[in-house]
């Protein structure tokens, strides 16, 4: 039994690794396609049919480029930066419940790598480590633009983590658990948290944009002011890892948002499928991925619509708008939860 457990987990880990990287790769493709469509262009269409091989071509190109390290850079930290960025993006997918349990080979297989009961705390811990990859990468480059990018990234991420955490607390209050699986189960069917906590979702979503350094919060890597920001000095696959980790982070944060606000793998009518657990499991995974892709689409849609913030506007939004909003929302939610529990 114990060996089966490890085999299951190992297979799941490998699958998740490949799926995250594959989705990240095709996010780059879809991002460029969508940018093209929004600007009345076609987007990449040369590599393969509809340009479907473009991410592979890009990956090969990244590997073939010269791997350059600046003379005055701190060599170890220079290598460590993209590694940490990629690691923190990937590791969060371990705690995400991807679907209901599969019944295979006479045993129940959980589609969650690490069933820890403080999943959401783990996620926030990893997100706060995420800034180190950028910070170390930007500092080790020994370049003023990289350092500016890194400083901007760290101040932005720390500011927006607060509002993000407070809006997550409201979700914890109404579902009564830190366990992501329990949070998902509490939103059974169409009982999604978005209907109870639209304000928390709005704050969380804006903060997720800022945490993943996506436009309109892409100040750490803005091309026209900081010529790439923290990855100015990076080349070859180290640059590739930075760019990739951004897309993996986008994927994972979409997954977390789907769990916290859109019921994770829950879908209306899932009670009629309990006679066939495997079918239910497969459909639940598919539904979860559809939710993730819809959120990713909104991420990209926003990127190609809204221009970048100025830095003081960014700080104003984070500290003076989102944190008070999240706090008021948390107080009101707490009040209502307390009333509900004492009266009924």
């Amino acid at each position: 039994m114990e060996t089966f457990f490890w085999i299951d987990k190992l297979v799941l880990v490998l699958l998740l690794f490949l799926i995250s990287l594959g989705i990240a790769a095709y996010q780059t493709y879809f991002e460029r396609k969508l940018a093209g469509w929004i600007q009345d262009r076609v987007g990449p269409d040369r590599a393969g049919r509809f340009g479907i091989l473009q991410p592979i071509a890009d990956g090969v190109k990244m590997f073939l480029k010269e791997d350059f390290t600046p003379a005055n850079a701190d060599k170890w930290l220079f290598i460590l930066g993209p590694g940490i960025a990629m690691f923190t993006s990937l590791i969060t997918s371990a705690i995400i419940p991807w679907g209901t349990d599969l019944q295979l080979f006479g045993r129940s297989i959980s589609l969650q790598v690490a069933e820890i009961n403080i999943g959401i705390l783990f996620a926030f811990g990893i997100i706060s480590i995420g800034v180190y990859g950028i910070m170390i990468g930007g500092w080790a480059s020994n370049n003023k633009y990289s350092l500016f990018g890194a400083i901007r990234a760290s101040s932005q991420m720390i500011s927006y983590e607060l509002a993000m955490g407070i809006s997550a607390i409201t979700i914890i209050m109404i579902s009564g658990s830190l366990d992501l699986r329990a949070i998902v189960e509490s939103q059974h069917g169409l009982n999604w948290n978005i209907f109870y906590q639209p304000v928390a979702f709005l704050v969380f979503f804006i903060c997720a944009l800022a945490e993943t350094n996506r436009a309109p919060f892409d100040l750490p890597e803005c091309e026209n002011e900081l010529i790439g920001g923290y990855h100015t000095e990076y080349s070859s696959m180290k640059l590739g890892l930075f760019l990739f980790s951004e897309y993996v982070a986008m994927f994972v944060s979409s997954a977390i948002m789907a769990i916290l606000f859109f019921g994770g793998y829950n879908f209306p009518g899932m009670d009629y499928l309990t006679y066939n657990p495997n079918l239910l499991s497969i459909i639940s995974v598919a539904v979860f991925f559809i939710k993730i892709f819809a959120l990713i689409f909104i991420f990209m849609w926003i990127r190609w619509t809204i221009p970048r913030f100025r830095f003081d506007q960014l700080m104003h939004l984070g500290w003076k708008v989102l944190i008070p909003l999240a706090l008021v929302n948390m107080l009101v939610t707490g009040f209502i939860v307390a009333l509900y529990e004492s009266w009924f």
Binding site: D40, R41, I306
Partner: protein
């Protein structure tokens, strides 16, 4: 002063209303605009596969015409080279031998004829200068190359092949002789 157009907008500096300060309605409006563009028709012309429709008077890559018996019209008089404002054309002449009578229409012909397509400005003055109706500009495009040398077109690329004659009638409205 009376304005010439109606495009003038008076800038107002009024304070923003609460709805405007929320920014979200504005953001949603903007996102709907971009979403509408996703559904719009693309305006791209995928160049190597499809080309833009040319105007009838388009001046593209040159051709050195042959007459209806397949003999080269060019007599290497050099008028095109003289007329060329970009000095893109050069040639050397040679005398036709009896054995070559089926190849060249008159006694003198161009043994070498080169146009530097990087210098050429496609003005069409060579075509106007030509007394023998030998050189014409066509609606074909000069393809891109990686080396500069490959843009110097010799007779191998300029003279029209016997088996696939190049139609130049599209922009020759007036009674020029060797249309095909």
């Amino acid at each position: 002063m009376e304005s010439l157009t109606n495009r003038k907008v008076v800038v107002s500096d009024k304070p923003m209303t609460f709805m405007e300060k929320l920014y979200l309605p504005g953001i949603i409006k903007g996102m709907l605009v971009t979403f509408r563009h996703i559904l719009m028709r693309r305006k791209t012309i995928k160049y190597p596969e499809e080309t833009r429709e040319f105007a009838p008077v388009y001046r593209g890559m040159h051709v050195l015409k042959r007459d209806d018996q397949g003999r080269e019209n060019c007599t290497a008089c050099g008028l095109c080279a003289v007329a060329c404002p970009a000095e893109a054309i050069t040639m050397t002449s040679a005398e036709r031998t009896n054995a070559d009578k089926h190849l060249y229409r008159e006694e003198k012909y161009a043994s070498m004829y080169e146009i530097n397509m990087l210098r050429c400005i496609f003005c069409g003055l060579c075509e106007e200068a030509c007394p023998k109706e030998a050189i014409f500009l066509t609606d074909r495009l000069v393809p891109t190359q990686f080396e500069r040398g490959e843009f110097i077109y010799g007779k191998d690329k300029l003279v029209e092949p016997l088996d696939e004659r190049i139609d130049i009638t599209k922009r020759q409205f007036t009674g020029k002789r060797s249309a095909i």
